[in-house]
C-alpha cells in the first residue's frame, strides 16, 4: 500500500487522490463539502479531537479543524503526509492545529486510547484490503471516547474481494456483513446514510452504493481479526480473479488520463502520465509499447468505426429494425416516422472496440470502450440484486445502444421492458445496430418522459440507468417516481398515524386527514392530542417568566413525545403525518426515523409568520406546504429532504349543504357573515362594513365599537358543525385571508386558507380576496367571486346582494369544483403518491418485515387460514389472535373448520389466562 500510494502521490496527487481537480483552492472546497457530509446529522457532544484515516494530502483536514480544536490525519504514504504538511502550511493559518502521522497503514499506533471524539474516513477504506479494514475497526473502538462517533465511507453492494495487493479497486460489502463486523469489533452501527461522491454515475454503473456508516462504541469487541474478516467475506477470504491485474488497471487508467490530457492540449502532463505508465509498467513487467500501441489503435478504431457507420449504409440496418418495430411497437414506429422527438437531444455515435456506442454531450450512454462487457456486467449485477432477482418483470429506463438490454433478455427468465425518454436515442440506436432480436424479445417499449408500460405486474421492478440520470435526470426520476407511486398505491398498506396539534385551527384538519385516509382504505390511527392541551395551558398559570415557560413547554412536549414513542413501540407505524404544531420533539422524530418510520409534516401555515420550521424541518422526510416558491426553497434549505406544495381541502361529509330550521336560520343566518379570528387586516377591513347587515363569528375580536354590534355570541370558538350552519344560512360569506402586517388585502398573499375550500364545498357563495395561488384551485368569477381591494369588496357586496341568481350559479360551480379537485381524499392520495414515489423501497422493506408476512408464509398449509391472515394484514390489524377471530361471528351460519380451530385457540388462551388469575381450582 505504502509504495503504491507514494508512487501515485509523487506522480500526480491531484489525479490519484483529488479526482483530477485542477486547482488547490477547489480541492479545499471539495474537502469542505465532503467533510460537511461527514458531520451532517450527528450529535457532536465534544469537539476536541478528530482523526481521519487515510487523509491523503489532507484535503479535508482544514475544514475539520474549523469544527474541532485539533485534528489528526493519518496515512500509510509518507509522501502523502509530506504533501499534506506542505499544502496545509501553504494556507498560512497559524491557528491550524493539524497533526499528520505516517502510520503502518493498519493501525493507529501513537494515538492514545479513548482520546478521539470523531474518527472519519472518506474514499480511503474501500481501497484497503479487508483485513486492514477489520483492523481499523478494532482500532477505532480503541481510540474513540465513550461519547465519540465514527463516520466511515464504505461501499454497499455485492461483496467484492480483489487481491490484497490491489490498492486501487474498491471493495464492497453487504449491509449485513458490515453490521456483523462492527458488532464484533465492539462498535454499534447507529446509521447508514447515503453520500454523494465523485464519479457517482460510474459507481452506480458498477452497482456500488457509497454510504456513510455511523458507529459508536458499544460492548467489548473481539480482537480476533479472522472473525471479523470472516463475516465481511462470508463467501471466503480468497480474492476474486479479476479480468485484469491491478497493475494493468492502473496502467489503463493512467493511459486514458494521458489520452485526455493530450486531447486537452496538456502535452507535458500527458507525457508525464505516459512516463508514469512506462516506469510503473516496466517495474511490473508490462510492455508499455503494447500499451501505447493499444492507445493508438483505440484512436484509429474510433475513426474507422465512425466512418463505417457513415459509409456502410445505416439505412439498411435502420429499415430492418423498423420492420420489427412496426410490427411489435407500432406507436413507436409511428412516432419515429413522424419524426416527433420528445427531447431536443444531440445524440452522437462513436466507435468502440466492441461496437458503436451513443454519446450525449460528455456522457456515454453505453461504455466508451467495452459496451458489450459493460452491458453484461451491468446486467449480471442487476440480476443479482436482491430487489430484482425475484421479480417477474424488470423495466429498464434507458435504451442507449441496447447492449445491456440484450444481455438481460438473453440471460434470464424475467420479462424485460424498456422506457426511453428520448426518441432520438432510439433512432440512433436503430441506425447503428441490428436490434431485431432485442426488439422481438422486449415485452414493451415506451418513449416517454413520465409514462409506464400498461401491463406492469404489482411486483415488477424498475431500474434506471445512471447515464439516463445524467442526461435526462428529471424525466428518469419522474418515471421512477411514477412507477413507485403506482405500485405503492396498489401494493402497500403502510400503517399511518396522523398526529394533530394541541389546539387551534389545524386541529380539525388533523381529523379530516384521518377521515380521508380511512376513506382511502388505509390503516390509520388518528391521534387527537387536544387532551394534553389543558396541561400545556396550565404552564402559563404556573410560571410567569418567559424563559421558564419556554423550558416548561419544551419539557412538556418532550413528555408527550415520550408517550408517543411508547405508543409507537407497542403499535408500530410506518408513516407519521404531523400536522402543523403537532406536539412532538426533534428527538422523538429522529428516533422514529432511526427506526425506519417516514416522518411527514403538513405545514398548513404561513411560513413567514410561523418560523419554527427552521429548526424543525430537518427532522422530516417530507414537508408539505401550502405555499410555493421561496417557501419550498427555504424549507429545503433548512434540511427537509423532500418539500412539496399541497394545499388544504374540504371534507365533503362535513362541509356540505345543510337544511336549517327557521330558528336556526334566525340564529346563524345573515345577509353577510364572516367566520374566523380577528386578525389585524380583518378588523381594519370589516370595521368599514359595520353599517351593513353583517355578522362576525369567531375569537380574538375586540369588544369596542363597531364590533360590539357585529360580533356574535361573545366571540366564542365555534365547532365545525356550527360554522357549517353559518355558511349555509348566509347570503354572502366573506373570506379575507389573515394578515397581522398588512391592511386590507395582502397584495403578496399566496396560500389559500381552508375556509376557501370549505365554503365552496358547502355550496355557498363566497367573496374571497385575491391570492396568487387562487387561480390554480378556483376560477375567479365562475367558481368563486374575488376582490383585490376593500373598495372592490364593498362594490361586489352591493352587486351580489342584488343578484342572488348569480350567487347561486357561482356557489354551485364552486361546489362542483371543490368536490372534484379539492377534497382531503384527493390531497392524501397525492401525498401518498409522492411518498410512495420516493420511499417505495423503504416501505416495501418494512412491509416485508411485518410479522404478517412471515405468518402468511407459514400459513401456506391451510389456504383459508392464509387468506384470513392476508385479510387481517390488509386491514392493518395487529398480528394477534384477536385480529384473526374478530370477524368470526357466532350464530351467523356454519363455521368452517378453520374458524373452529381459531375459536378453539381463542378459548384455550382465555381459559388458561383465567386459571392463572384465579388459581387452579376451576372445574369449568
Amino acid at each position: 500500500m505504502r509504495q503504491d500510494w507514494d508512487r501515485r502521490v509523487e506522480h500526480d496527487y491531484r489525479f490519484w487522490i483529488a479526482n483530477e481537480i485542477s486547482s488547490q483552492s477547489l480541492i479545499w472546497e471539495e474537502g469542505e463539502r465532503d467533510f460537511s457530509q461527514i458531520i451532517s446529522g450527528i450529535n457532536l457532544t465534544n469537539r476536541d479531537v478528530a482523526l481521519e484515516i487515510g487523509c491523503g494530502v489532507g484535503r479535508m483536514l482544514p475544514a475539520a479543524n474549523e469544527i474541532f480544536r485539533s485534528v489528526i490525519g493519518v496515512d500509510v504514504s509518507p509522501r502523502a503526509i509530506s504533501k499534506a504538511k506542505e499544502l496545509c502550511e501553504s494556507l498560512n493559518q497559524d491557528s491550524l492545529q493539524i497533526d499528520l502521522i505516517n502510520t503502518t497503514g493498519s493501525d493507529l499506533q501513537g494515538v492514545p486510547s479513548k482520546s478521539i471524539d470523531l474518527v472519519w474516513s472518506f474514499a480511503a477504506l474501500p481501497h484497503m484490503p479487508t483485513r486492514i479494514f477489520a483492523a481499523y475497526l478494532t482500532e477505532i473502538k480503541r481510540v474513540l471516547r465513550e461519547t465519540g462517533v465514527a463516520r466511515l465511507q464504505v461501499f454497499v453492494g455485492q461483496q467484492d474481494n480483489p487481491a490484497e495487493s490491489d490498492t486501487l479497486r474498491m471493495r464492497a460489502y453487504t449491509e449485513s456483513a458490515i453490521k456483523k463486523a462492527v458488532t464484533l469489533a465492539g462498535l454499534k452501527l447507529t446509521a447508514i446514510t447515503q453520500v454523494s461522491m465523485p464519479l457517482q454515475e460510474l459507481l452506480e454503473e458498477l452497482y456500488l452504493q457509497p454510504v456513510l456508516i455511523t458507529l459508536e462504541p458499544d460492548q467489548a469487541g473481539s480482537k480476533d481479526l479472522d472473525e471479523i474478516v470472516a463475516v465481511l467475506l462470508p463467501q471466503g477470504a480468497e480474492p476474486e480473479e479479476a479480468d485484469i491485474s491491478c497493475t494493468e488497471f492502473e496502467a489503463w487508467i493512467a493511459l486514458h488520463y494521458a489520452d485526455r490530457l493530450y486531447q486537452d492540449g496538456e502535452y507535458d502532463r500527458a507525457k508525464s502520465a505516459l512516463e508514469y505508465v512506462a516506469q510503473h509498467c516496466r517495474a511490473a513487467e508490462v510492455d508499455v509499447r503494447e500499451a501505447l500501441k493499444k492507445l493508438s489503435q483505440l484512436a484509429a478504431e474510433r475513426q474507422v468505426s465512425a466512418h463505417m457507420a457513415e459509409t456502410q449504409g445505416k439505412t439498411e440496418i435502420y429499415d430492418a429494425n423498423c420492420e420489427v418495430l412496426k410490427r411489435r411497437f407500432p406507436e413507436i414506429f409511428n412516432q419515429l416516422s413522424a419524426e416527433l422527438a420528445t427531447q431536443n437531444l444531440q445524440v452522437e455515435v462513436k466507435a468502440s472496440v466492441e461496437g458503436p456506442v451513443l454519446w450525449v454531450g460528455q456522457t456515454c450512454l453505453d461504455h466508451p470502450e467495452k459496451p458489450v462487457l459493460a452491458g453484461d456486467t451491468w446486467a449480471k449485477r442487476a440480476r443479482n440484486d436482491s430487489r430484482l432477482a425475484k421479480c417477474p418483470h424488470i423495466v429498464v429506463v434507458g435504451f442507449a445502444a441496447g447492449y445491456h438490454l440484450e444481455s438481460l433478455v438473453n440471460n434470464g427468465t424475467q420479462v424485460i421492458s424498456c422506457v426511453e425518454t428520448s426518441l432520438e436515442v432510439l433512432r440512433k440506436a436503430l441506425e447503428v445496430r441490428d436490434l431485431r432480436p432485442l426488439l422481438e424479445k422486449l415485452a414493451s417499449l415506451t418513449i416517454s418522459e413520465n409514462g409506464l408500460p400498461d401491463n406492469l405486474e404489482p411486483d415488477a421492478e424498475i431500474i434506471v440507468r445512471p447515464q439516463n440520470l445524467v442526461i435526462a435526470g428529471e424525466a428518469a426520476q419522474t418515471i421512477s417516481r411514477n412507477f413507485n407511486s403506482r405500485r405503492g398505491s396498489a401494493n402497500l398498506r403502510p400503517k399511518i398515524a396522523v398526529l394533530g396539534p394541541l389546539h387551534g385551527g389545524t386541529l380539525p384538519i388533523g381529523h379530516y386527514t384521518t377521515s380521508a385516509l380511512n376513506k382511502l382504505g388505509k390503516a390509520v390511527r388518528g391521534l387527537d392530542m387536544s387532551g394534553f392541551n389543558g396541561g400545556f395551558e396550565m404552564i402559563n398559570s404556573l410560571t410567569k417568566n418567559d424563559i421558564r415557560q419556554q423550558v416548561c413547554r419544551q419539557t412538556y412536549v418532550e413528555m408527550v413525545s415520550s408517550i408517543l414513542l411508547e405508543s409507537f413501540t407497542e403499535k408500530p407505524i410506518d408513516i407519521l403525518i404531523c400536522m402543523a404544531q403537532a406536539p412532538i420533539s426533534g428527538r422523538a422524530l429522529s428516533e422514529l426515523r432511526r427506526k425506519g418510520v417516514i416522518t411527514v409534516l403538513w405545514f398548513v401555515e404561513d411560513y413567514l409568520r410561523f418560523t419554527y420550521w427552521k429548526d424543525y424541518a430537518k427532522y422530516f422526510d417530507y414537508v408539505f406546504t401550502i405555499q410555493k416558491g421561496e417557501c419550498i426553497d427555504a424549507i429545503r434549505k433548512a434540511g427537509a429532504a423532500n418539500v412539496h406544495y399541497l394545499p388544504t381541502a374540504c371534507d365533503p361529509v362535513i362541509h356540505a349543504p345543510v337544511s336549517l330550521t327557521p330558528e336556526e336560520r334566525a340564529r346563524w343566518g345573515s345577509p353577510i357573515s364572516f367566520v374566523g379570528a380577528g386578525y389585524h387586516n380583518r378588523r381594519q377591513t370589516f370595521a368599514s362594513l359595520a353599517h351593513l347587515p353583517f355578522k362576525i363569528w369567531g375569537t380574538e375580536w375586540p369588544a369596542c365599537k363597531p364590533f360590539d354590534r357585529l360580533i356574535q355570541e361573545a366571540g366564542r370558538r365555534l365547532t365545525p358543525e356550527e360554522y357549517i350552519k353559518i355558511f349555509n344560512s348566509t347570503d354572502i360569506n366573506l373570506n379575507l385571508h389573515s394578515s397581522n402586517e398588512r391592511d386590507g388585502v395582502d397584495p403578496t398573499g399566496d396560500f389559500i386558507n381552508p375556509r376557501t375550500f370549505e365554503l365552496a364545498a358547502c355550496g355557498v357563495f363566497q367573496l374571497v380576496d385575491e391570492r396568487s395561488l387562487l387561480a390554480e384551485v378556483f376560477e375567479a368569477g365562475k367558481e368563486v367571486a374575488t376582490f383585490s381591494t376593500v373598495a372592490e369588496l364593498k362594490d361586489k357586496i352591493s352587486y351580489y346582494m342584488e343578484h342572488p341568481e348569480e350567487r347561486e350559479i357561482i356557489a354551485r360551480a364552486g361546489r362542483a369544483r371543490a368536490l372534484k379537485d379539492h377534497t382531503y381524499e384527493k390531497r392524501l392520495e397525492q401525498m401518498l403518491e409522492i411518498i410512495y414515489g420516493a420511499s417505495y423501497q423503504q416501505l416495501r422493506q418494512r412491509a416485508s418485515e411485518n410479522p404478517w408476512v412471515e405468518m402468511i408464509r407459514k400459513a401456506e398449509f391451510d389456504p383459508e387460514l392464509r387468506e384470513r391472515c392476508e385479510r387481517a394484514f390488509a386491514r392493518g390489524d395487529e398480528p394477534q389472535l384477536d385480529g384473526l377471530v374478530a370477524d368470526i361471528a357466532l350464530g351467523q351460519g356454519q363455521l368452517t373448520e378453520t374458524e373452529q380451530k381459531l375459536l378453539f385457540l381463542f378459548h384455550v388462551r382465555k381459559q388458561i389466562i383465567r386459571m392463572e388469575h384465579e388459581g387452579a381450582g376451576v372445574r369449568n
Binding site: 407459514k858 398480528p879 357466532l890 372445574r923
Partner: protein, 553 residues
C-alpha cells in the same frame, strides 16, 4: 337405566383438565369396557397427565395435548399463532383418522366443545358445539352436571360427579371405585422409601397430604402439626407426608413443627405411579379434596378427607365405600372455586383432635358413627361414603343430620334424577309422563317455596306451545300474532329463570330447564315448538316428582 348410546365400538374420552378428573373417569371407562367388551378406548388428556394414564386400567391409547406449548405459542403472538394452529390441526387430523364412533367430553370448557365439533364424531356425550359454534349439552346428565355445579345449586345436589359422568356415558355396570394399577417397580420403590424413613414407632402407617390446589383448601400447617403430633405421640403412628415438589414449602413447616423421626417427607420423591404404590402401603390417607385423595381411593386405601372452602363432599367426594368425609357447616361454604379467601374460617371447624381420632378409628375399621361431642354437627358434618342400591355413591352422615338443612332437598333431588333421568324405580315413584293436575301440585307444594309458581309456569308454557303450533300451521295468521306469542314465551322463560334465582331450592329445576331450552336443535319452527313443548312438559314433571319426593323424604 335409560341410555342414549348404549353401543360403543371406538371411544374417545376427552378429559383435559386435572389429575383428579382422570382418576374420576376410571369407573366410567371400566364401565364402558364392561358393557362393550370389544370396544377400544382412547383418552385425550393434557400432556402433563399423560403418564398417569398408563397406570389406569382399561385405557387402550393415550393421546396428549400440550396446552402449555399451545399457550406459549399463542403468547408469543405473530408466527406463534400459526405454530399453535398447526399443532391443533395436526392433533385434529390425527384424531379424525381414528374414526371414533363415540366421544364423551368430560370437560365443560368452550374449547373442548369446539374440539368435539372438529372431530365430527357421530355420537357424543357431554359438551360439544353446534354448526354455528355455540356450546351444546346434548345429554341430560351432562346438563345435570352443569346444573349441579352452579354455585346456587351445589348444596342441593348429592350425586357424585363421577356418577353423573358415568351416566352421561350411559354406563351402568361399574366397579364402584376408582381404579389404578400398582406397578411392581413402583411397589418396590414405595417399600424402599418407607424403609428409608427410619421410623421409630411401630404403629399404623398414615399418609398425610397437606397441600391442595388452592390455598384456601389447605388446612393450615399449624393444625396439621397438632394432628400429626397426636398421631405420633398418642397413637404411635408413622406418618408419611406426600406431595409434589412445589408443595415442599407447605410441608416443611410441618416437618419443622413436628420434629419427629416418625414424620417422613416423601414430598417430591414420587411419581404418580409411585405415589399410588406408596399410598397402597398406608392404612389411611389424611387429606383435603386433592388428586392424591383420588389416587388413594383408587389404590384401595381409605381416606379421611376434609372438604374445605369450595370443596363439596357430595360432589367430588372419595368414590368408594367406607371413606370419611368432613364438611364444615358454615354460611359461606362451599364457596366459589374461582375466588380466593382471606379468612378461611371453615378451617377452624375441624380440630386436629377430631382428625386424629377419626383417622385412628378408620385404621381400626369401618366408622359408622361418632358422637356429637367429638364432632358437633352445627360446626362440621362427618359422613361415610357409601353406594346406594342403584350403584350411586352417597354420603351418609355419621355424627348427625340434624344440622343439615339441605338434606331433605338433596334426597328429593337425588330421587328425582335417578328416576327421571336414570329410569330407576325409586321409592315413591309417581310414574312417568302424567299430565300435571291441580291435586298433584297441591301435594307437591308442601314445604318447597316457589314450586307451585314454577309448575304454573311449566303449564303455561305448554299452553303457549299449543297456541304456537296452531299459529305456525295457520298460514293466514299474521306475523304480529307469532311475534306476540314469542314475546310471551320470552317473558315466561325469564320468569322461570328468575324464580330459580329467587327460590334457591328450585334453582336446579329452573337451571335444567334453561339448559334444555338453550340446546334445542334445528331451525324448523314446528320442530322447535315441539321440542319446547317437551321442555315445558319435563319441567312440569320434575316439579311434580320433586314435590312428591320431598314430601316423602
Amino acid at each position: 337405566m335409560k341410555k342414549r348410546h348404549p353401543h360403543k365400538n371406538k371411544v374417545l374420552l376427552v378429559n383435559i383438565t386435572r389429575l383428579g378428573d382422570m382418576l374420576q373417569a376410571t369407573p366410567t371407562i371400566a364401565g364402558i369396557k364392561r358393557e362393550n367388551p370389544d370396544c377400544h378406548t382412547t383418552v385425550l388428556v393434557e400432556k402433563q397427565f399423560a403418564d398417569i394414564c398408563h397406570v389406569l386400567p382399561n385405557i387402550d391409547r393415550v393421546v396428549s395435548i400440550d396446552l402449555n406449548y399451545t399457550c406459549r405459542s399463542l403468547a408469543a403472538e405473530q408466527s406463534g399463532i400459526i405454530d399453535a394452529y398447526k399443532y391443533v390441526s395436526e392433533l385434529v387430523d390425527g384424531l379424525q383418522e381414528e374414526s371414533f364412533d363415540y366421544c364423551l367430553n368430560m370437560s365443560s370448557s368452550a374449547y373442548t366443545a369446539l374440539l368435539l365439533k372438529l372431530l365430527n364424531i357421530p355420537k357424543t356425550g357431554g359438551w360439544t358445539a353446534d354448526e354455528e359454534g355455540y356450546r351444546v349439552i346434548e345429554s341430560d346428565w351432562a346438563r345435570l352436571f352443569a346444573t349441579s355445579v352452579h354455585y346456587q345449586n351445589r348444596q342441593y345436589n348429592s350425586l357424585n360427579l363421577v356418577d353423573v359422568f358415568r351416566c352421561s356415558a350411559d354406563v351402568e355396570d361399574h366397579p364402584h371405585k376408582l381404579q389404578v394399577n400398582i406397578l411392581p417397580e413402583a411397589k418396590r420403590y414405595a417399600e424402599d422409601l418407607i424403609r428409608s424413613a427410619g421410623f421409630t414407632n411401630f404403629g399404623p402407617l398414615i399418609a398425610v397430604q397437606a397441600g391442595a390446589s388452592q390455598a384456601k383448601r389447605q388446612w393450615s400447617p399449624a393444625l396439621f402439626v397438632e394432628m400429626v403430633k397426636i398421631l405420633d405421640r398418642e397413637y404411635n403412628a408413622r406418618i408419611i407426608l406426600t406431595g409434589s415438589p412445589k408443595e415442599i414449602s407447605i410441608v416443611q413447616p410441618i416437618l419443622d413443627g413436628c420434629n419427629s423421626p416418625n414424620v417422613f417427607s416423601a414430598v417430591g420423591k414420587t411419581s404418580i405411579p409411585q405415589l399410588a404404590a406408596l399410598l397402597k402401603e398406608c392404612q389411611v390417607l389424611v387429606t383435603g379434596d386433592t388428586g392424591p385423595m383420588h389416587i388413594s381411593v383408587a389404590a384401595g386405601t381409605p381416606v379421611v378427607a376434609m372438604f374445605l372452602a369450595s370443596a363439596y363432599g357430595f360432589e367430588t367426594g372419595p368414590y368408594s365405600e367406607g371413606n370419611i368425609v368432613l364438611q364444615p357447616v358454615i354460611g359461606c361454604g362451599p364457596c366459589n372455586p374461582n375466588k380466593s379467601c382471606s379468612r378461611p374460617d371453615c378451617h377452624d371447624t375441624i380440630s386436629p383432635r377430631l382428625m386424629a381420632d377419626l383417622t385412628m378409628a378408620r385404621v381400626a375399621g369401618e366408622v359408622t358413627s361418632i358422637s356429637r361431642e367429638q364432632a358437633d354437627p352445627r360446626s362440621v358434618m362427618v359422613y361415610r361414603s357409601v353406594f346406594d342400591q342403584y350403584g350411586f355413591c352417597d354420603l351418609k352422615p355419621i355424627n348427625s343430620s340434624d344440622g343439615d338443612s339441605f338434606a331433605r332437598y338433596r334426597d328429593a333431588y337425588r330421587k328425582l334424577w335417578l328416576n327421571d333421568l336414570g329410569g330407576y324405580e325409586v321409592h315413591g315413584d309417581v310414574g312417568s309422563r302424567k299430565r300435571l293436575s291441580r291435586s298433584s301440585l297441591a301435594m307437591a307444594d308442601e314445604g318447597v317455596d316457589g314450586l307451585r309458581e314454577i309448575a304454573d309456569c311449566a303449564q303455561r308454557g305448554q299452553e303457549l306451545m299449543r297456541q304456537l303450533k296452531e299459529q305456525i300451521l295457520d298460514t293466514r295468521a299474521p306475523g304480529s300474532i307469532l311475534q306476540r306469542t314469542n314475546l310471551e314465551i320470552v317473558k315466561l322463560d325469564r320468569d322461570i329463570e328468575e324464580l330459580g334465582y329467587h327460590y334457591e331450592p328450585i334453582g336446579a329445576l329452573a337451571k335444567m330447564f334453561m339448559f334444555a331450552k338453550e340446546n334445542l336443535a334445528g331451525s324448523d319452527p314446528l320442530s322447535l315448538a315441539s321440542q319446547m313443548d317437551s321442555v315445558y312438559h319435563n319441567l312440569g314433571r320434575w316439579c311434580q316428582k320433586f314435590g312428591h319426593f320431598y314430601r316423602e323424604s
